[in-house]
Subunit: 396 residues, 2 copies
Amino acid sequence: MQFAQRLQNVETSAIREIFKLLGRPGIISFAGGFPDASLFDATGIAQATRRAIEQHPAAALQYGPTEGYQPLREQIARHMQTEGAQVQPQDLIVTTGSQQALDLLGKIMLSPGDKVLVEGPTFLATIQCFRLYGAEVISVPIDEHGVQTDALERLIVEHQPRLVYLIPTFGNPSGALLPLERRRKVLELAAAHQVLVVEDNPYGELYFDAPPPPSLLALSTEVAGSRDYLAYCGSFSKTLSPGLRLGWLVAPAALLANAVMCKQFSDANSSMLAQVSTSEYWQTGRQTATLRQVQQTYARRATLMGECLRRELGNALAFTQPQGGMFIWARLTGANGTSTDAAAFVQRAIAQGVAVVPGTPFYASAPDTATFRMSYATVAEDRIIEGVSRLARALG
Amino acid sequence: MQFAQRLQNVETSAIREIFKLLGRPGIISFAGGFPDASLFDATGIAQATRRAIEQHPAAALQYGPTEGYQPLREQIARHMQTEGAQVQPQDLIVTTGSQQALDLLGKIMLSPGDKVLVEGPTFLATIQCFRLYGAEVISVPIDEHGVQTDALERLIVEHQPRLVYLIPTFGNPSGALLPLERRRKVLELAAAHQVLVVEDNPYGELYFDAPPPPSLLALSTEVAGSRDYLAYCGSFSKTLSPGLRLGWLVAPAALLANAVMCKQFSDANSSMLAQVSTSEYWQTGRQTATLRQVQQTYARRATLMGECLRRELGNALAFTQPQGGMFIWARLTGANGTSTDAAAFVQRAIAQGVAVVPGTPFYASAPDTATFRMSYATVAEDRIIEGVSRLARALG
């Protein structure tokens, strides 16, 4: 059987390799990307789901509007307003996870051969998602503060991309936090070059000590014309539960109308059971305490992992201590004659009983082969200590 | 902002026109396509959802396998085995409604310019879904027994389509039931011409007096080589609840592997809350009684609507009494000087206070402008009687 040409653009073997790492018995895994299921508010969600079906059976169990359950759209809009973004319910649609928002953006924006700029490194599934629509995906270099805006400007001019995809706040895999001035610069570039910037923000609420700078969306009021070239993807997966499979997309009106049209033919609407349940949950206000516990737990684990890494691997490893999110992105420096080959390091780490993810697949182009990703989000503290000791033994 | 070329292939104004009809106050609507929400087993689903979260919180609230929740895959496979199809859990994936199965098939199979054959008329969202992948969608004529297999063969030879999409059992909008012999012929054509046939079967369980002939999937064991060119889309939306937003796709291994890959970048996985809840619900066995009540209610309404139409509109209307499903597809015959212009008829019907859907948008090509669709599924019996009286007055 002959398949569509677009499938030839996607390379999944690297991804499969990563997934294979996760299942080995006895291994301590820093390789995952999931939130910690033990922090989900199962009691609260169970109660909300019961109320959803008992009090709104026709809404929760029937087909719903492609745009999303209206009370939930209103709650999301209010929530984003409290974070400083000017968003009305009609400015957003509910999506089947933020992954679907990316898929819809690809379908709406990308014709074969179009170029897309992303952070190098960035979220793996974004690269593959856009490649499936025929895009050429190009990496923009980052540093410890996220995307380098001078390089971004140069590459926008050079490639005339159809869109720029960024995770400015506690990026995956970088963990980096884009400072306020670079955020302004990104918005100025969007307006000046009339290029769509997609702000993916699944981790923004997972800050540790202090809230991050305003989202690009919130800041866009300060940069004339930038809102017309800005889309925003939000998610309930890291703050409430990925099992609901809900996210949202904020976008300019014409883009959003096309997203609704494409979503109608992609899955008609997102699970109404999940949407009405999430709306009921949010009405209880329990999400505040749930989020606080997630923030505190991840902060503790991040601090511990950072301390262990500095103590055990010393200057053989370079990384920035994350201020939020789920990931530490690290680079083998080669100090004291250690190897900078992260792929080989990962193999030795697995042999020692600890899994991390090699960095190369996270690059759409020009990979830094000395990098790898660790997540502390799901790992108990004693396992973090032991896992980092094993990593140190893998330095060789 | 410039959007992707593929959006230019889709015409949504006809669909919007139809949706506008549904909201008018006081109107009796035969125009819908939803199942009757009052027949959903809200109590059973609420109980199943509670058990899902209480007993399987880590499964129901976390990310899950892209292929679907394994116990649910096993239940679906067993269910299909009882219907005569040889299906193992690894032969299917769970999808976000059967609409997502169609979207994945489009993504996997269709390159711009590829041809697709569908029944004329067929499910609107399929036409648009495939057009979004650049396909040229061509109608194959149907009669009261569904697709005309001689015409299908001729058009396969003429167009060399990438796939053939059929709803053989109680089609939407046709309501038609493809007889056993034509089913065999379809399978022979699939094998002989090595063309993928997609069997969409959301209505097959909604039979009235007697079960329909075996699905193409079940019959494929009798036609050598046909299974290699057969995909099957199932759905929980008409038998359990559309609010769960769950369906499934059975396909040959290589195609299914590509579906998993594409789904990973479309929505990662379908709502695990919905999947685990559905699995728990099915374990109770309550679906048998739920389905029986749906069958009996729709059967009663279909019988009544057919009687009323014959009595009130007589030979001005041609239609086949459905043996299952949700729809009556009718044709204005022009008898006794009545008009055969269904678009004008629909406008007069709305003026009389009853909504039906004009047939033209259901055709990918060569529409029969005398046709329209009625659904009896959600309409109480006294409203069916009154609604058909209004329709008769609209004959003019």
